[in-house]
Assembly symmetry: C2
Homo-oligomer: 213 residues x 2
């Protein structure tokens, strides 16, 4: 806004001073991003600092320790995944339509953020007790519950047979997305998750509906 800033060269290196709030957001983004390349356990504070264009020490001005960074990442995950579900549900339609929209929204989200399933899966597998593991369970478990509710509603309006087991159906729903993630890594690059999702959802649905024999 002032004259001086206009006269100055535009800084080739955008290593500007940023607010703590901004740096915290950048940090979370950097971790999600790095998780698509490294294992969560392999993400170092140095790598995070470098990615956001700051020295190592500066990171600890915004977070007391590394655990706090991970806590922020999981908060972000919970909020964003919840938002994806909310948006799909808010658009309305029959329970089955909502379920389908949720499926594709979820696929699009993990397609855009490949680090997300990795972080969650990784943390889930911890034996017990760590606070992050609890968070991961809450996030995935909450997701599962939402799917179960939608399936229940679909049964209520006659879109799905009442004999369908909701737990089993939820496993299949989440597993199908996991399967797409696995395939996308098998054919890195040459695999369009969204397109494969379009083909696979009808199979999932037929599994839900059952065979009329």
């Amino acid at each position: 806004m002032n004259d001086i800033s206009v006269l100055q060269d535009p800084p080739a290196e955008p290593r500007q001073r940023q607010s703590a709030e901004t740096r915290r957001e950048e940090t979370v983004e950097a971790v999600i991003d790095l998780a698509s390349e490294h294992s969560p356990e392999g993400i170092t504070t140095q790598a995070i600092a470098t990615r956001i264009g700051v020295t190592h020490g500066a990171l600890f001005r915004h977070f007391p320790d590394k655990a706090a960074i991970w806590r922020s990442v999981f908060d972000w995950l919970g909020i964003r995944l919840g938002r994806v579900a909310d948006a799909a549900i808010a658009t309305g339609g029959t329970p089955l339509q909502v379920l389908e929209r949720l499926f594709h929204a979820q696929v699009a989200f993990v397609s855009d953020h490949p680090g997300v399933p990795r972080i969650l899966f990784h943390e889930l597998q911890r034996p017990a007790g760590s606070p992050l593991q609890g968070l991961a369970r809450t996030i995935v478990g909450g997701y599962r519950e939402r799917i179960k509710i939608l399936i229940h509603r679909a049964k209520d309006v006659g879109e799905l047979p009442t004999s369908l087991d909701e737990d089993t159906a939820a496993i299949l729903f989440i597993g199908t997305i996991q399967g797409l993630v696995v395939q996308s890594t098998l054919f890195a690059g040459a695999f369009d998750m969204r397109e494969a999702a379009q083909r696979i959802f009808p199979l999932l649905l037929d599994g839900y509906r059952g065979v009329k024999s």
Copy 2:
């Protein structure tokens, strides 16, 4: 065999001298085992050595470096997973019966070795190029091919509709197992993967068969 050994206290710690061959096998088992508790990247050579009851340095008498240990682990994985598939296929029956037996055999295997899906999934997600990533792709890709062949045969004998896309069906097959793995971590302990697999396989099959509407 000699008198002295009889007179001596039976060594409470069985920290005996073992052949290099034995130690190499123990090492692979230890890694698979440790992978159910820690992330693959978090498994240290010290932890492996401690688990097989040997000092850290002794490990490097049997393996030139850590990478060689991981190579051995992936060899083991490839052989064992191949054996699971071979055994299921060898028992004979219709293609669909074989597919079902393979499914349950696979579930039993990862249920006995929770570290296995973890190691494979973890390594698959690496961006590119690492030799281990290539091995992981070969293993999972080979598995996928076998499933596709079985599905193809099932179509040939009229057990599945010819309209079924084999790639999509394979994704669903692998994804379903992944889904079971996720659930087992969600309800650690109080979740019987094998039993859930019995409930979920019919849904998978109905998805394959499609709805006769």
